[in-house]
Amino acid sequence: MSTTQLHTIAIAGNPNSGKTTVFNALTGLQQKVGNYPGVTVEKKTGQMTLPSGTVEVVDLPGLYSLNPKSIDEQVAFDVLTGREKGTAMPDGVVVVIDASNLERNLFLFTQIMDLEIPTILALNMMDVVERRHIQVDLDKLSATLGVPVVPLIAKKGKGIEELKAAIQHLNQQIPPKRQWNLHPEVESACESLTKWFAEHTNLKPGACFSQALYILTNDSALELWGGKTSELRERVFQLRESLKSQEVNWKSAEITGRYTWVRGICQETLRYEVGMTPHKSDKLDQVLIHPVAGPLIFIGMMALVFQSIYSWASFPMDIIDGFFGWLSGIIHGVLPEGVLQGLIVDGVIGGVGNVVIFLPQILLLFFFLALLEDSGYMPRAALMMDGVMRKFGLQGKAVVPLLSSFACAIPGIMATRTIENQRDRLLTILIAPLMSCSARMPVYVIFIGTFIPNQRVLGIFTVAGLTLLGMYLTGIVAAILMAILFRKWLVKGEAPAMIIELPSYRLPSLKSALILMWVQSRAFLVNAGTIILTLTIVLWALATYPQVEQYSVDYPTQIRVLTDQLPAAANPDQLAMQIQQLEAQQAAEDLAHSFAGRLGKVIEPVIEPLGYDWKLGVGIIAAFAAREVMVSTLGTIYSIGDADEESTDLREHLRQDYSTLTAVSVMVFFVLACQCMSTLAVVRRETGSWKWPLFMFGYMSVLAYIGALVVYQGGQLLGWGG
């Protein structure tokens, strides 16, 4: 009997087994989300306090199997066998099982059992079992499996204390051993491979057997573990060949063997008192996935989600905006004019503001996502949308993240976590920013308002409205084209065939939703926030340095003279206006002189074919911080103090300098370009490297340039240049 200290435990279980609820109940708010190194698989860890000390809890991705066919399964296997870098090998495993679906859930348990790690079986959803009048013989189950069995109703917190007590004794447990049987021929084939792993790796005996079995029966596993050693490959092919000649079905041997054993156990431990009862969920599904009503309900729900991110979030966002504006005002008053003031007001406060402003949208989206996921509706939505999305090389689950991206790509990209398949997830992330988000709105508003006539078309439409619609459609069409393109050349291979479990409907838990909102928003603030803050400061510096040494007019002196006259002036309003004008002119000169201003002039020849001059160039550079900054930057360039999208002064200036064709070209550029460092920061976090955000920035920039070029040059050819 070992008495080693318990440091780390892992939680494993099927999707929809209530695994996350158990994890939440054990760790509370002591959770961290991140990624396993180099892959887009979410790594969730937390801390649990036991009388004996603190234990690290690793929540593995939801799995049906450990036999690696996807990155999720591979990561889970690596964590459990201590091979995953940066994750301590767990001292024990809690396998969370949906008791109302014992047979299928025990399948995964048998795979974990093979690894010979101390294990607890957490039998969740005991309330459902009771409702369906199913009797589970817990003692017999525990005796047969050779592990402690703890009944749970995790959502109500029932059994959690007992589970904790069981976990405390995990390190004294004699690990379970494999009990199910393979076909004898497959068994002996497996033995020889097990020996190879025992000799060539330092894995534990159980893990060696599992690996041997998986490479024998599954090509993906062979690719993963045997791909590099031709000797091992050869041996596997020989063994398969010999099994085939003996007419042994080696492909299904593992699964058949496990299910045969599991079915026997279920027969002995389960008693259906009234036979199998029809589920209430089947009745609900007659409406919710009805060919006509289903999609309508889905669209209605998404409209609600979309509306809430789009408009309900605007109230708290205004408050946040107002707060940071107020704070800047105070600093303005306290600190003397100069570099330090600029750094703090425009760099730090502006940067923090750029981060915090997204919180309301993220919180709201994750609230809805938690409800959709928790209730069991999400797989149904994916089921209904799968056919449409598949035409573009995407899968059904991509629909919610993509629709959310119309509000804001940041929560949208975070929402791709619901897509288990890593390639599909990456593809969805790459095209999400092409959905026109709310930050593009101010740019659309000012250019459409300035250049596009509000003429009525077909009675109910206006040219302006249709132009706006056109911008949204441009983004959607581009996204579809890019998805098809990427699927062909980048994220190759077809999306895996849809096989999706439709879990029973359940009342979603508010607590789970709140925990998800807390954990996700904290992760956003910490990880993406630091990147966004840094970039904001860099952009501030670009727009500030080098400073002007000699203004064309001595603004500082003139402003001071006028300000001194102000208290005694006969016409203070006029004087104040004059001061404002001088300040605006000074700001314009500052900007023109800065790196950003010079950069604008440097890139002028490049953007000229798009119909832009250096001023729009500066606006585009500044808009990299956040798209809506374009408008205020143009205001600065045109010496109009604080300009927003409603500013008539700014519109007047724009009308003088640019043609309608240029305006459309600018808007198309904004539809297609990835001018949002917050998005790039989030993609960096979600994909775990700078490779994908840089690729995204690159491809979208090229797309934007080509799009704007085609519009402007094409328009000129057609004679719309005026």
Binding site: Y64, S65, N67, K69, S100, N101, L102, E103, R104, F107, T217, N218, D219, S220, K251, S252, I255, T256, Y259, M276, H279, S281, D282, D285, I289, P291, P379, L383, D386, G387, P496, A497, M498, I499, I500, E501, L502, P503
Partner: protein, 77 residues
């Protein structure tokens, strides 16, 4: 002699028994089997449109019609 048919030709409400699975994609086949889709298992068709919805034991599964057409099934007597 048992009459087999592709699972995809089943109608809503029908109870069938699974015969051979001949998916050209080995991973799809493994994934189905791991979910309890084994030869000889009884399934019920809850929805015969595309995607199909099937009951296997206590599990409800949505699967693409394409995939269902690669699975043979026969009527329960």
């Amino acid at each position: 002699m048992i009459q087999t048919m592709p699972l995809s030709t089943g109608t809503t409400g029908q109870h069938l028994r699974i015969g051979a699975i001949q998916s050209e994609n080995a991973n799809d086949m493994l994934r189905l089997q791991e979910l309890g889709f084994l030869e000889g298992t009884e399934v019920q068709i809850l929805k015969s449109s595309d995607p199909m919805v099937l009951r296997v034991g206590e599990t409800r599964l949505g699967i693409q019609r394409d995939l269902a057409s690669q699975i043979s099934a026969y009527r329960l007597k």
